[in-house]
């Protein structure tokens, strides 16, 4: 981080030692938020594990179409991480049109993920699944765990898409710079990483 940046951020002239370990504060802040958010997801997943292990009739209701949908969603989200990486590269190289292209792709892929997810949810509602109803007659906690965990993740995806929209607009207007895009990228990769836990635990483990 340059001296002038540090000057600005502390509000007065400061001669800083250039520490090799110093992380720009937005990024550090995002890392710390990610740690806390990981704990939050872990709590939900722990609750899910506790319920599942303690339940006698959990059942494995997901058939192949559901799993296939999940695989597609995984592919979409993973791709969006790749496009996000490309977007960050482009902003670092100062290539605005390229950055916009990749940011746009990331936003699109994120939206596709959300749509596929919601489609699946409504299909399940139609079959009789809910927060406390299980049409197969198995444990009622299935719906509670599934919808709360995937719901929390979906909320993160949607807020990530909104954040990316805001940052793309700000980047184009010159209000935001590379560090903002990098920080958003960090969040986006985290959301992807969480999915890599959610998908096996909520889908694959419940596959028929």
């Amino acid at each position: 981080m340059s001296e002038s940046e540090l000057t600005m951020s502390t509000g007065h002239e400061v001669l800083m030692e250039a520490s090799p370990y110093r992380i720009e504060k937005k990024k550090l802040g995002m890392w710390i938020f990610i740690v806390s958010d990981a704990c939050t997801f872990a709590t939900f997943l722990f609750g899910y594990g506790y319920m599942r292990v303690g339940s006698q009739n959990w059942g494995t209701p997901f058939d192949f179409p559901t799993i296939l949908n999940g695989i597609i969603m995984t592919f979409v989200l993973l791709s969006s991480s790749l496009t996000m990486l490309a977007a960050v590269r482009a902003t670092q190289a100062g290539q605005k049109p390229s950055a916009n292209k990749w940011l746009g792709l990331t936003i699109t892929l994120g939206t596709v993920f959300a749509i596929l997810h919601l489609r699946e949810w409504f299909k399940m509602f139609g079959e009789g699944w809910g927060l406390f109803s299980n049409p197969t007659g198995g444990a009622v906690q299935f719906g509670a765990c599934f919808f709360s965990v995937t719901g929390l993740h979906l909320a993160h995806v949607i807020s990530g898409v909104i954040a990316l929209l805001i940052i793309t607009r700000g980047y184009n207007r010159g209000r935001y710079d590379t560090s903002h895009v990098e920080t958003a990228g960090l969040y986006w990769h985290f959301v992807d990483l969480v999915w890599m836990f959610v998908f096996p635990m909520m889908y694959l483990m419940n596959a028929r």
């Binding site: 509000g11 400061v14 001669l15 110093r22 506790y50 319920m51």
Partner: protein, 588 residues
């Protein structure tokens, strides 16, 4: 760097207008004062709740003045109903644990002092900081709102165990809207704490001024920094726990509610949930929470003592800091000691008992460092120092109780007795509060530019010190008889004869409460009429004493703050400030 210049402009120009200066301010100093004021208000509310509880326990049939008018439902004719007592108890615990003990020493003093102590102009994220205060404020309003809704506050205790807290209105008074509001209040507090922790961590890592290496950090900053990590991980678990509880209450889920429950003659539709899951999740937060409360207290005492003993702490910065890191880390491994008789597997009891006992070691190291730092010193018995000495005595008393409760076999007798209530009041309620008072008297000159009255301060100390022992050590010892806690009145055969002892505790508690008004009077009077404070009235070394009282808008008036020493350069009357280019005298 467009955002940087906007940011810098926001910093260089102090705000104008009452609202931007004192209400929606991004200045960490204003936010620190806002948090401290909120805690002060919350403390008096929490205390008042305890007075009503204590009067009722001593004189169950007595009509308490004004109570009948304030709460005609809860206390018809001024006599609390059993459910009203329990709701007072629930809100007493909630308000004290969250809005006083977690807020004041960490968010209150930490917000004001941490940026200054590291040499920064403000926190890393000033607007997030403002947001975290106002979110806390709304959370507090919701908690207080439980008193004015018709059904009243929840009665399930600050621990809100399921199923009582989870099944909703069917469980009785307070368990409808009151419990909902309570969950929302706590959820908001979690969000605010997470934002605050984030700010503290990033500020301490990124915004230290030149020369402020980690080894030169003031010990209060170390404590706030370590505590911020503990808060981050703990509150991140409480928030989802609250959400799951809310889902059970309004979403019809059965995370914590098993099947086959018959409440108020109604068979509930839930099935498959586990009350023990709630306890695990709650206490995974709940145990670190008590260390979140005590770590800033350790930090305040570690920070203040060298100023008033005029020598560094034994072991320098390292021993006490590593003790605090050990305590903070181990605190995540012990939550099951709240659950020894809960129906959890008895093997798990030993698994949790061992780290619970081990955590005594760094705690004892901390106490020994404090006590033995008095050896060979020239102690200045100012009010802040007296409260530090009081802290040491109270923490020893409270900590000793931990030896008992950490053992499952002993806990099987002492669980849910007043021994436990005495133990946690000593450690959380008294030690932490005494350290908070020490910090209040110590930093008041810096925050307000005026000195508090020393005589009133000493009266406050002596009366409080003796009276807290009268109330809470009696409670501790009474617990050896197996006296049960959370009873709204004592009708059990073996507890009726203990009512006279309870009356003694009540009288002492009311006197203790009255004593706090001496403090309040002193604080308010001194704020406006106290003698003007110098920049460094205590002869201390850290950065907050290297600027005006109160500090200017950017904390240092545009000066370059370069650090050459650690925070404990004291040798009797001589001392070297952290920024001084002089040689070190104490070699710390």
């Amino acid at each position: 760097m467009h955002d940087m210049s906007a940011h810098a402009a926001a910093h260089h120009a102090p705000p104008s207008g009452f609202i931007r200066k004192y209400v929606f301010s991004v200045d960490h100093k204003v936010i620190g004062i806002q948090y401290t004021t909120l805690s002060l208000v919350a403390a008096f509310i929490g205390m008042a709740l305890s007075w009503v509880m204590r009067i009722h326990l001593g004189w169950p049939a007595a009509s308490i003045p004004f109570l009948g008018t304030l709460s005609p439902n809860g206390a018809p004719g001024g006599v609390p109903t059993p459910e009203y007592y329990l709701s007072l108890m629930t809100m007493h615990g909630t308000i004290m644990a969250f809005f006083v003990l977690t807020a004041a020493p960490m968010a209150g003093y930490g917000n004001f002092m941490l940026p200054i102590q590291v040499g920064a102009a403000d926190m890393a994220f000033p607007r997030l900081n403002m947001a975290s205060f106002w979110v806390t404020f709304v959370g507090f309003v919701l908690a207080c709102a439980t008193f004015i809704i018709p059904d009243g506050p929840p009665i399930s205790g600050w621990t809100a165990y399921a199923p009582l807290s989870a099944v909703g209105q069917v469980a009785g008074p307070g368990q409808g809207r009151g419990q909902d509001l309570w969950v929302l209040s706590i959820a908001l507090f979690c969000v605010a704490s997470l934002l605050g922790a984030l700010n503290f961590i990033v500020t301490t890592i990124d915004l230290r001024t030149k020369g402020m290496t980690l080894s030169r950090l003031p010990l209060s900053t170390w404590a706030w920094f370590i505590n911020a990590w503990v808060s981050l991980l703990a509150f991140a678990v409480l928030l989802p726990t609250g959400l799951l509880l809310l889902l059970d209450r309004v979403g019809g889920t059965s995370f914590f509610i098993p099947g086959g429950l018959v409440v108020n003659d109604k068979l509930l539709p839930h099935s498959g949930g586990s009350p023990l899951l709630f306890q695990h999740l709650f206490w995974f937060f709940g145990h670190p929470e008590v260390y979140i409360i005590i770590l800033p207290a350790f930090g305040i005492v570690a920070h203040l003592m060298p100023t008033f003993t005029r020598k560094p702490l034994v072991g320098g910065w390292k021993v006490i800091t590593f003790a605090m890191i050990a305590i903070g880390s181990l605190s995540f491994l012990v939550w099951g000691h709240h659950m020894f008789v809960s129906g959890m597997s008895p093997s798990m009891a030993m698994v949790f008992s061992v780290p619970t006992l081990i955590i005594t070691i760094p705690s004892v190291i901390g106490v020994l460092v404090f006590a033995f730092s008095l050896y060979g010193a020239n102690i200045r018995f100012t009010t802040p120092m007296l409260f530090c000495l009081g802290f040491i005595s109270l923490f020893i008393s409270g900590g000793i109780g931990g030896f008992f409760l950490a053992q499952p076999a002993v806990d099987s007798y002492l669980h849910a007795t007043s021994f436990v209530v005495g133990h946690f009041h000593f450690t959380m309620g008294l030690s932490a509060i005494f350290a908070t008072f020490a910090g209040f008297y110590y930093w008041f000159p810096k925050m307000w530019g005026r000195m508090m009255n020393e005589t009133l301060g000493k009266v406050h100390f002596w009366l409080s010190f003796v009276l807290v022992y009268c109330v809470f050590m009696t409670m501790h010892l009474m617990g050896l008889t197996g006296a049960v806690r959370r009873y709204s009145s004592y009708v059990a055969d073996f507890m009726v004869p203990q009512i006279p002892t309870n009356r003694f505790m009540t009288v002492a508690a009311l006197l203790l409460g009255a004593t706090q008004f001496i403090f309040l009077y002193n604080a308010i009077w001194s704020r406006f009429k106290g003698p003007k404070a110098a920049d460094n009235p205590w002869g201390a070394t850290t950065l907050e004493w290297d600027t005006t009282s109160p500090p200017p808008f950017d904390n240092f008036g545009g000066r370059q703050m370069t650090i050459h020493h650690g925070p404990m350069e004291y040798d009797a009357d001589a001392f070297v400030m952290q920024t001084s280019p002089e040689k070190s005298i104490a070699g710390t």
